[in-house]
Symmetry: C2
Amino acid sequence: MNFCSHCGSNQLDCKVPAGDHVARYVCQVCGTVHYVNPKMVVGCLVVHEERVLLCRRAIEPRYGFWNLPTGFLESGETVEEGAIRETWEEARARVKVERLHSVYSLPHCDQIIIHFVAQLQETGIEAGPESLEVNFFAETEIPWDDMAFSSHRFALERYFENRLKPDKQTYLGSSCLRTS
Amino acid sequence: MNFCSHCGSNQLDCKVPAGDHVARYVCQVCGTVHYVNPKMVVGCLVVHEERVLLCRRAIEPRYGFWNLPTGFLESGETVEEGAIRETWEEARARVKVERLHSVYSLPHCDQIIIHFVAQLQETGIEAGPESLEVNFFAETEIPWDDMAFSSHRFALERYFENRLKPDKQTYLGSSCLRTS
């Protein structure tokens, strides 16, 4: 950040505002405090006939490596809506979210990744513009060494570890208040 | 947003960038795309002797109403660290996170609220600067009509509904990769 997005001044000071405890960019002209918050990343672990849907990345970072369909949550979306949209965009899969599966923090790059377990609602899948190919994999077929991200590997490992323990898989509370 | 925070230009266009599907502020001078993402809010449902910790708000919005200790996740934090920090700031309670409890989307104001069930690590509590008072409440004592936010009410209702069903309360996956 070089300029204040409110008044256009370049007189930004990085300091702890009164009553706060974290350094922020504060405009010395108009007083606007510029908060920087972690970003949410959401996706689905789509299960079909005991196989999991993976996409091979057609984009950087990690071009050519595999991931669960996952991407940045957009303004105006619930976490479930974002996960369903990303699954359509990357794998042209129409899914229904079943339950929350994992939450993974990446504090060094300010990202929080949430994965849901989801089921196919229609049988077709196809590579979207961000994928080279998409496919379903049984546990023994997962390309573990070619996974793009630790958070996706974590979600997969937890899924296969726990899939035979249904009493350990119930997630209680996810809801949404939409007032507009 | 009135000015580009990268180059200071006021020539911002609200349009869908190439390869995207959502309108963004795009600087017509330097080309920077300004993404606006939902913010994460994290907090704890602290349980002690079958009572839950609530704080009466000393700040707007909803001054004087009750909430679970909860606030915005900061850069560099895991979701659990943010929830523990907020619990200290609002109620001077030292807690240990036990499990994820609820995820609540507020798409109309771009917030996602995550609550964890937590346990006290030290017995003392005290109102922090953002609280008028703090106290533990049994289910029959909760000031339901004076709760500040629907997301906190949701978390409390789910907790009391399900506390006698331990097999329904196990959350599987929460982890963190910290590389710096």
